[in-house]
Symmetry: C2
Subunit: 320 residues, 2 copies
């Protein structure tokens, strides 16, 4: 189990997995700053991925850690209806992981980067007691030429979701309880927690549909993210049918005596896209994006209903 011998050794490891060139890369890794060629506007987002807060080494492979740290950032770019065009990486490295561990972590991240053709143009390394990954990614508008933002919908808009709400939260619950053995019974839920997939194509399809008025990626759970999506002083009526929930969400809820729609509502780390759509545009959107599911409607007054009942609980808060 060889250790990382030096910073240069770690940088050499990055060079094995990440090409130094890429579209728009003028000066790549190795200078005080990278230089990138820019369109008139870029979107930019940053997310932390911290051991024992966002992930556990006990049931994440190092490759999954590296992949998810980048994927959750790319998901934010997807929610803007944009295409990621570059990223930088900050990595806090404890002593208790060897060179093979870092090699696998970096390889997992590089897989996501290669899949979406996002070049790594810079970064910083530090020692520390727990693994922490900081990624900042930027992106350009897709063919639509626009970025999707939040809060710009209107009462009457339909709420559509792409992805399975509550599924990753079920995955976290079963992984915490039974570790990787849980994958036998809950394969989709475990995969949703360990290996979320950023929905870039869906984001582009949403941006291309003129009737889509706002979008975000559900990362803190619908309960917390829905208010961030809605226009000011509006609310929503939500409806989850069995057909709109993943069978593992329904099964896990049934096993715990919870209404499945509440599991979907509170969720967390769903990395699903949630959008508001003018009703007239719904057929066009459905044709372009068949996996978009209607789960409710924006109301002209504040407050939320879930399958007809008022609901006012809040979701997960790092500081709550």
């Amino acid at each position: 189990m060889p250790r990382i011998a030096s910073e240069d050794d770690f940088l050499a490891l990055l060079d094995v997995h990440f090409p130094r060139t890429g579209a728009g890369v003028v000066v790549s890794r190795g200078d005080d700053a990278a230089v990138i060629a820019c369109p008139p506007q870029l979107c930019v987002t940053t997310d932390l991925f911290v051991e024992d807060v966002h992930f556990r080494r006990r049931y994440f492979t190092p490759g999954q850690i590296g992949a998810k740290a980048l994927a959750v950032n790319v998901s934010d770019v997807a929610a803007m209806g944009a295409v990621p065009t570059g990223f930088v990486l900050g990595l806090v490295c404890p002593d208790d992981a060897d060179r093979d561990y870092w090699d696998a972590l970096v390889a997992g991240m590089a897989g996501v980067a290669a899949r979406h053709q996002v070049p790594l143009v810079g970064g910083d390394l530090s020692k520390g007691e727990k693994i922490a990954v900081s990624v900042t990614v930027w992106g350009a508008p897709g063919p639509s030429g626009r970025f999707l933002t939040r809060g710009s919908g209107a009462p009457g808009d339909v709420l559509v979701v792409v992805g399975d709400l509550g599924l990753a939260r079920v995955g976290l619950a079963v992984l915490e309880k039974d570790g990787l053995a849980a994958a036998a019974d809950w394969p989709a839920a475990v995969a949703a927690h360990l290996a979320p997939v950023p929905r870039l194509e869906a984001g582009l399809a949403l941006a291309a549909c003129h009737g889509v008025t706002a979008c975000l990626d559900v990362s803190d759970g619908l309960a917390r993210d829905l208010p961030r999506l809605l226009p000011p002083n509006c609310g929503a009526d939500l409806f989850f049918t069995p057909a709109s929930l993943h069978p593992e969400v329904t099964a896990h809820a049934a096993g715990h005596g919870r209404p499945p729609e509440k599991v979907a509502f509170f969720g967390g780390e769903d990395y699903a896209l949630l959008a508001t759509v003018a009703p007239a545009a719904l057929p066009t959107l459905r044709a372009a994006l068949p996996e978009a599911k209607a789960i409710g409607r924006v109301t002209a007054t504040p407050g939320y209903t879930l399958n007809g009942a008022a609901i006012n609980e809040r979701g997960f808060d790092h500081f709550g």
Copy 2:
């Protein structure tokens, strides 16, 4: 000592100190990603600032932590000869710091941001066991229209430095030994470690001088950073006179029986700018930037001499 009550409470605290608007900010904090207006090229850099690796709470005020975390990133933009135009922030927050602590940390960072008119456009918060600050900053070329990079000098170029090499390293040594009491005897050294100043104006002056061929900011010490500045297969002859060293560096070296030029050579966290300059351009540069000190010359063959003696030791390495 009230605690941070929620993520919204922390975000409200950011809103007190950081304006949401700024030049080039199209969509500010609060969406999945910010949207920024871009020139044809941007430089982008990221740096981590981690408790007990880069700083100690024992002798840093929270305001100094926030300020230095941003300043060291701005220093990388300065080394590109550029002007910072925006940044995002990742903050790992332990439970053992109260709301006043975070308020002071954020205020310190906001002071640096306001001084350089750099808007904070996004970020991410996480719990964690130690404070960690991840900053990604980007910048546009100054009036010169160019970015300064590394490695593009030539044998015969003069090495110039703006800032005091070794001074911050002396500050770290006396702070580790005597805590803040050390400030009485070593005020400049302690200030250099606790509150480094990014040399943006000097970076712009270097970029504006056509004869400046390459530049970087000395953050890991001259011993490690000099090879990164020099053109391939070149070396350097370095000369430090008493006039080119800070008196506190000379005094600390004398007190420990070390040659002062070696303290300057190994240094660390200097955040000085080091550039290569064609000899013919030196008078022009000196007129524009009187604080630039010549400390040596690029040689056509590898290897380094320090005040006439060969030197081949390496400097600090996080993984060494």
